[in-house]
């Protein structure tokens, strides 16, 4: 039993209720972590990447295909860009197939207890289902039905795209997308596909039609893709799953082109005006290399992850601590490095009350600059090392979370034990490595500031603050 402390002597001026508290314990070392066993197989003419989760009652199945926003057709002269076509097409895969109407298909997924998911990035698309492991075979049948036998009937595409246009209008009325749009436009220019939003706008969505969807599917989404599985492989029959998922796939699919380079001379500040907004949405960032390129140039990915977490990746990060806990400008502030293909991006995001817009932007730029100049401290490294080490097993409890790591593994061609290896590396990374890495990737002078908010309140002062930062 530890000695109880008498509180009033500890903390003057504080309202203290209990007379007896116990001193802080010294924690024991965390147990080592090993990522689930990964099996990479070639079955039924396709690639399978599967993680074994013994005893797990739920399973996650996914098919990763090509396409993506960079595969979308360039607009003809004077024509409207079909931005969002990739996402719309992959979303329409389950809206009616050869053997199911759209409603029948949805009800079939739901009758398995399944959650259906789709995703479309810059260079790939994903279709996933999360369901009880005992239903995995039936789930794979539905994945195959959607991926290999979509119908794209005119009634379904018209209804779906109409709803999507309305949904886009609503998304654009919420803060966030217009700031993101302004940031991409400032960095890459509006002519570049990369300078626009991957999911498109209300206008580009309204220009989509069934013919464009069918053509996109035909060209980009008919290849075998990769089957990803996270679940109890003693229960799941991978060969049977692969047989249904790869049946009827085209031999190959073209690879999606890379995007355009950033503009040589970027504006430092861009504003999406939103009169009357009570908060301003900040998106501040700059492009970075991809994970593969960084690793090839000698950048330590684990050291970068530590630096990123210290700057903006947790509640006690420098950005959240100062902007929320010290200044009270915001409900939360975050920043992170997206190292995805074909280009990476560093970005900071927050929503601040309108009359704090100028100091919040100035503080953000100062905090990032100070972090770059002064680097992380030993105490920050130790805290973050422990936090990230603990977060690995805590964050990987569900098959879906394991599945996300399989996607990352597949996108970047990483070995099956990369999570385990990164976890081990985390325990030995040094402060010098963290600071050297952050200085080789973060570029405070190149940050572009995008603000969505009421320009009449902060316009000229903000420009001055960004100039002087």
């Amino acid at each position: 039993m530890r000695n109880p402390l008498t509180l009033p002597t500890l903390l003057k001026g504080t309202d203290v209720t209990s007379p007896r508290l116990v001193a802080r314990p010294t924690p024991a070392a965390q147990r080592p972590y090993v990522f689930p066993e990964v099996r990479k197989l070639s079955l039924s003419g396709g690639r399978v990447v599967a993680a074994h989760l013994p005893g797990q009652p739920l399973a996650w199945l996914g098919v990763m295909l090509g396409g993506g926003a960079l595969a979308e057709p360039a607009p003809s002269a004077g024509g409207v860009a079909l931005d969002g076509l990739s996402r719309a097409t992959v979303s329409l895969l389950d809206e009616g197939t050869e053997n199911y109407t759209a409603d029948e298909f949805g009800a079939a997924v739901e009758s398995l207890g399944g959650n259906w998911g789709v995703d479309s990035g810059w260079q790939s698309t994903k279709v996933t289902i999360n369901l009880p492991v005992t239903r995995a075979t039936a789930g794979a049948d539905l994945l195959a039905e959607a991926v290999r036998r979509p119908a794209f009937r005119e009634t379904d595409t018209r209804r779906f795209l109409g709803d999507l246009t309305s949904a886009k209008r609503e998304q654009f009325a919420r803060p966030g997308l217009r700031a993101q749009q302004a940031l991409r436009r400032a960095v890459y220019g509006e002519q570049a596909r990369y300078g626009r939003l991957p999911g498109g706008t209300p206008e580009s969505t309204a220009a989509l039609d069934g013919a464009a969807v069918r053509a996109f599917h035909e060209q980009w989404l008919r290849g075998p893709g990769v089957l990803l599985v996270a679940g109890d492989l003693d229960v799941i029959d991978l060969e049977a799953l692969a047989a249904v998922v790869f049946a009827g796939a085209a031999a190959d699919a073209p690879s999606t082109p890379d995007g355009e380079a950033p503009l040589p001379n970027q504006t430092r500040l861009t504003i999406a005006d939103r009169p009357g907004a009570v908060q301003s949405t900040l998106r501040i960032g700059h492009p970075v290399l991809t994970r593969t390129e960084l690793a090839a140039s000698g950048v330590d990915i684990v050291a970068l992850r530590v630096a990123s977490t210290i700057l903006g990746g947790s509640f006690s990060s420098r950005l959240n601590h100062e902007l929320r806990e010290v200044k009270g400008y915001t409900y939360g502030a975050h920043s992170s490095f997206d190292l995805g293909r074909p280009q990476g991006f560093y970005s900071m995001t927050t929503e601040v009350q309108t009359d704090s817009t100028v100091p919040a932007v100035a503080d953000t730029l100062r905090i990032i600059r100070e972090f770059f100049d002064g680097g992380a401290t030993e105490a920050e490294l130790e805290l973050t090392r422990a936090y990230l080490a603990g977060a690995t097993p805590i964050g990987l409890q569900s098959p879906g979370a394991v599945g996300e790591r399989l996607i990352e593994m597949t996108r970047h061609g990483l070995p099956g034990d990369f999570v385990t290896a990164e976890h081990a590396r985390l325990l030995e990374v040094t402060l010098d490595e963290v600071n050297t890495t952050l200085r080789s990737v973060l570029r405070p002078a190149d940050l572009v500031v995008a603000v969505e908010g009421d320009e009449s309140v902060f316009g000229s002062e903000l420009a001055k603050a960004v100039r002087e930062a």
Binding site: V16, T134, G276, Y329, Y331, S398
Partner: protein, 447 residues
């Protein structure tokens, strides 16, 4: 057709042991050992929510939740998160609802003592300073702006509660509260709130994961054992509400929203009372997912409404009459009145047309898989155990949750529809878009 028992229904879908005990100071402790991973979910439910707030002090329970992260006798301001992070903890947060306030974190099991020490330190002492109050009041006001005032339709639930519950009822006001009342908050409000409700005998501590009952008992005794229970005011007596809202009540809101939209509110059964499970199945049959009646009728067949994931949901409020709410958005060119009539027609028809076996099976499969997902992480499993311990005095009743849902019959669902969808039991909120945004000050100040 008789439903085949599956492995998951044999143990109520909850396949882990549950141990429960109480300390001498009244703190109840629940332990659920699970050695799958070297981690432990730590969850505390305090039996206090916005339903305890007196008039003029709305939003104080939630603001208090923020203050719980601002330090205590042995924890400096803003150190709370870093104390947990430096031992590998994450998924650290707290939420306030009208019913309760929960605090949670997941830690490597080696750090379980640290998590319990930290929770005990803020239960036994708290740095209720003016500085913390001023700073967190600003954070909460920004939370309000971000979630309610700066987003289209952001205030719908707040308005619906005011219309669905009478003035002075514990569920009449929202948890976030009003800007003006938050501004009037003083330090002494929070001292008395803390004294009244953050007492060991008003809380349940749950640990799920890589720890056993003996170990948790020893740690709980060590860290919480010396904290003294404190008296609480008797909760005011709240007269039961009539079975239905005395409606129909309608409110039209002209606002800068992108599309017209209807929100519905229906008085419903308290969570855990007979009939509430049937209402959950009813909501799924009518309003959740692609196989739901509202989707088939309004979206596919009549092309009146936008596709949504859910059109109807239950709030599962546990201390007084609960609420079922609906949402629907018209397709361009569709009159709101036509859509509203069609929506309500599907609902009312359920009072005469019981679900088919296929419809029931779909709803059960969705809810059964939801439950498996809910229990699959130690953090949310701990929250469910705390919930059942607080509401029913027995965390073990978590095992009854899924069997109750699966036992609902077609006739139960029909009867629930007959009870819920009466002409008077209804609030309708109608959002109409206007070109100009509302006056910014009005929006920011709320009411």
């Amino acid at each position: 057709m008789e439903r085949q028992p599956t492995e998951s229904t044999a143990d109520g879908g909850f396949r882990w042991p549950v141990d429960q005990f109480a300390l001498d100071n009244g703190l109840r402790v629940v332990v659920c050992e699970d050695r799958t991973s070297p981690i432990a979910g730590v969850n505390l439910w305090y039996n206090v929510g916005s339903r305890h707030e007196p008039a003029g002090k709305h939003g104080f329970a939630h603001l208090f939740e923020h203050l719980m992260f601002q330090g205590s006798a042995q924890v400096g301001k803003t150190e709370h998160f870093s104390v947990l992070q430096e031992v590998g903890g994450s998924a650290i947060n707290a939420t306030t609802s009208s019913d309760r306030t929960n605090y949670y974190q997941t830690v490597p099991s080696a750090a379980l003592p640290t998590a319990l020490w930290l929770e005990a330190d803020r239960m036994g002492s708290l740095a209720l300073t003016q500085e913390n109050l001023d700073n967190q009041r600003e954070v909460v006001k920004n939370e309000r702006r971000q979630r309610y005032d700066n987003v289209p339709y952001g205030r719908w639930a707040e308005i619906l509660l005011e219309l669905a519950y009478p003035e002075g009822h514990p569920y009449h006001h929202s948890t976030i509260g009003s800007m003006a009342e938050l501004d009037s908050a003083e330090q002494s409000d929070f001292t008395s709130f803390y004294e009244s409700y953050y007492s060991p005998d008003n809380a349940v501590l749950t640990v799920v994961g890589d720890a056993d009952a003996a170990q948790v008992r020893a740690l709980a005794e060590e860290y919480f054992g010396a904290l003294a229970p404190r008296p609480r005011p008797e909760p005011p007596t709240v007269a039961p509400l009539p079975a239905g809202i005395d409606g129909p009540i309608r409110e039209v809101i002209e606002d800068s929203v992108p599309l017209p939209r209807l929100f519905f509110g229906f008085r419903a059964t308290r969570f855990g009372e007979p009939g509430s499970a049937a209402e959950e199945i009813l909501a799924a049959v009518l309003g959740r997912g692609r196989g739901a009646r509202l989707f088939a009728e309004l979206v596919t067949r009549r092309e009146l409404a936008q596709a949504e994931g859910a059109y109807l949901g239950t709030w599962q409020l546990a201390w007084h009459e609960s609420l079922m709410t609906g949402i629907v958005t018209p397709r361009p060119g569709v009159e709101l009145a036509e859509l509203e009539a069609a929506y309500l027609e599907v609902c009312v028809r359920a009072a005469t047309q019981a679900p088919s076996e296929e419809e029931l099976d779909r709803a059960r499969s969705m809810l059964e898989a939801d439950w498996a997902r809910e229990l699959s992480s130690v953090g949310s499993r701990a929250d469910q155990l705390s919930r059942h311990a607080v509401l029913f005095g027995d965390a073990g009743q978590v095992r009854d949750r899924l069997p109750e849902l699966l036992a609902v019959t077609a006739e139960d669902v029909r009867a629930a529809a007959e009870r819920i969808f009466t002409p008077g039991n209804r609030v309708v909120l109608e959002y109409r878009p206007v070109e100009e945004s509302a006056d910014a000050t009005d929006t920011a100040e709320g009411n």
